[in-house]
Amino acid sequence: MSDPKIDGFELKPGFRGMASDTGSDQTMFKGVHWGKAMMWIFLLSDTFVFSCFLIAYMKGRGSTPVEWPNPSEVFALEAFGVPVPLLLIALMTFVLITSSGTMALAVKYGYEKNRKMCGWLVLATAIGGLTFVGMQAYEWSKLIHEGVRPWENPFGAAQFGSFFFMITGFHGTHVSIGVIFLFIYAYKVFAGHYENGGKRGWFTTMKGDYVEIEILGLYWHFVDLVWVFIFAFFYLW
């Protein structure tokens, strides 16, 4: 999966290998599956999109003289009659990290051609993602009931709502798309599309391979990665 030894093209480790890879004939990233390289480049562009959102949020929050709503009170949840700060957010983080772990193991078992384990773990990841989206829908409806709107809210600075809905909404869209793909790929793994040299790829006539599970995993870990930053900057800061 990450072996620098490529057929007929030996790469030295470190910067020397990088120089020969970058300056090599015809293509860079020799031996890397094209889908994996493209997924990384997509994720890089997505990183810029999310960075722009978070930087806009930083600028909006920093430049307003009005008191910013206290997230640990806004996102508190009643448990056994006691308001617990950020309870739902902590649970969402827990669910997302759990699904990230099952995805990492699914990639591992995929490369070991363990169809059953890989399929069950991808399915578990999909269910974790679905739970996350459900909790986020609950969080949104709760805040909308409390009167949070993109243009106003009862807790403080009016910009809070627009940044909240945009950033968590964009992240939630990513999770939802990921969940759809996870279910599709769970089916494809169970159906044996990647067995015995591969039968069916995705939107292509090329043969499928378990590397597709790693590509899917990259996307899913990225979604988890973005949540780490949202959790730190939006909910904790």
């Binding site: 999966m1 990233f29 930087i55 430049s63 700060p85 591992k108 995993g217 870990h221 730190a232 904790l236």
Partner: protein, 119 residues
């Protein structure tokens, strides 16, 4: 991992180089612990520089673990790692630019609110 050769010699089936399950479980556990600690930052209501530095520390630790091990960047070739990580410096520059900008916006808002625009 340097133990792939041993596995290949023992097993008859050619197994592609994968990492031991232990490393994934370790990183998984660490992510839970780090998330728990970052939640504790809010629970104990640390404030000021202590709060911000702890939040950033746990955030970068988690992000680094996810990228290095779950996304395999630690084992990845340097060409890919560098293509991915160098553009992050542009984001860091943007953060500093906009931080300067919001300070200035806040200052001018306060200034014209209290002192007035003159004329």
């Amino acid at each position: 991992m340097d133990d792939t050769n041993q596995i290949n010699e023992k097993d008859k089936k050619p197994v592609e180089s994968t990492h031991k399950i232990g490393i994934y479980l370790w990183i998984w556990g660490l992510l839970f612990v780090l998330s728990f600690f970052s939640y504790m930052v809010d629970w104990y209501q640390f404030q000021g520089m202590l709060r911000w530095s702890l939040i950033l520390f746990f955030m970068f630790a988690k992000a680094g673990l996810i990228m290095a091990f779950f996304m395999h960047l630690f084992w990845e070739r340097y060409a890919l790692v560098n293509v991915l990580l160098w553009p992050m410096t542009a984001i860091a520059c943007f953060v500093f630019l906009m931080a300067a900008e919001f300070e200035y916006t806040l200052f001018s808002r306060m200034f014209y609110f209290f002192v007035g625009g003159g004329a």
